[in-house]
Symmetry: C2
Subunit: 194 residues, 2 copies
DNA sequence: TTATGACCAAATGACCAAAATAGTCATTTT
DNA sequence: AAAATGACTATTTTGGTCATTTGGTCATAA
């Protein structure tokens, strides 16, 4: 029962911290506010986490787990490798795109260059790359695509998707999931050669 | 003869300004230093350019002309569309990569977020995109590649190249021109499908 | 007529007092 | 006894100031 209380408090701290990080970013979030929002003493936070950074990375880790789960759920055995890859990637990027904390961190990194924000964003990218690499390796072993370096391939495909999902929107009207799937099909599945 | 003198001075100003912009960036370059380096009075600069910004864009325009020339020279009629596209793109990005002023502007935009630096870099990208778009349109008309939107295609290919030439190096050992050509061939020309 | 640099209003950034903050630990609560 | 707390402190950040620097002008010189 005592244990349950402690876990409850830890959860409350994490949720409160997630909210404040998402609102103000890493730099501008104060431990005082987190404590007040979680309705615990400031000292209590430091019984769960050694410092602000560790609390922050706990939240990011939880988010990365969520991303991995979503990607895994997007894989349906009855579909082809390429359909599955598109669905997994698209759902991961949609999650990332809508995730308030990630949005805030992107903004904070661009504006202030906070190192923690940069590392957190790199960690998310690495998680996505890791998932893709494994998925590509498996498919390559099964002969579902040409021989290729899974690392470079994952990197190239992710870049293509990020370009289409995020960068394209900056100067043009956004592309739908179907349009992106079609472009993926055209450029990377079949190639441009007639 | 009088005209020649004026052009000479203008050229001297441009060369001096290019040097200082490349050393200190847009923000930290003073018109006083440019004038001293060009060995003209400060007022003289303002007989050629209405302000610092215009002088800067004159320099950037000259660089964009150079890029276009290099790309045009990379096109050899005896080679295929894809070989030509790779050579043109690779030489443009190599020029961009080694160009001191562009390097400085990239750094300045990342660190200080100077608006002029951002605009100049966007202008370079637009020039490259414009060239590619035209080249792709022509090839599409000749039936050398599948039907595709030249704008999106140029955008996607440029992104792929930038990823491979610049971004990949940030976490891995750099790829040679031949390796990039091979990857371009694999991913975008023939596609990943077996 | 053309080039110049002394000059000026505006922008900048060095400086510093005041405020805010991460993390600690003696005290209180359970 | 164990867990929670918030007052406290060393350090960082902020906001405001003012001397210095800078882009741009224009009366003078060549």
């Amino acid at each position: 029962m005592v244990m349950t209380m402690a876990v409850d408090r830890k959860e409350k701290v994490i949720r409160a911290a997630e909210k404040t990080f998402a609102s103000f970013g890493y730099k501008a979030t104060t431990m005082d506010l987190v404590a007040r929002l979680a309705d615990v003493g400031k000292g209590t936070i430091y019984t769960f986490f050694t410092n602000k950074e560790e609390l922050f990375y706990e939240i990011m880790n939880q988010f990365i787990q969520r991303i991995k789960k979503i990607a895994t759920n997007a894989i349906h055995d009855e579909d082809s490798f390429f359909v599955n890859l598109h669905r997994a990637l698209y759902s991961m990027l949609e999650l990332r795109k809508e995730h308030q904390l990630t949005i805030k961190l992107t903004q904070e990194f661009r504006e202030v260059g906070t190192a923690q924000a940069e590392k957190a964003l790199a960690d998310i990218e690495d998680a996505i790359l890791g998932f893709m690499e494994e998925f590509i390796s498996k498919a390559a072993a099964k002969g579902e695509l040409k021989a290729c370096d899974p690392k470079v391939t994952a990197f190239v495909i992710l870049r293509l998707y990020i370009s289409l999902v995020f960068d394209w929107e900056m100067h043009h009207s956004p592309l739908s999931s179907q349009e992106i799937a079609d472009l993926f099909e055209l450029y990377l599945v079949h190639g441009l050669k007639k």
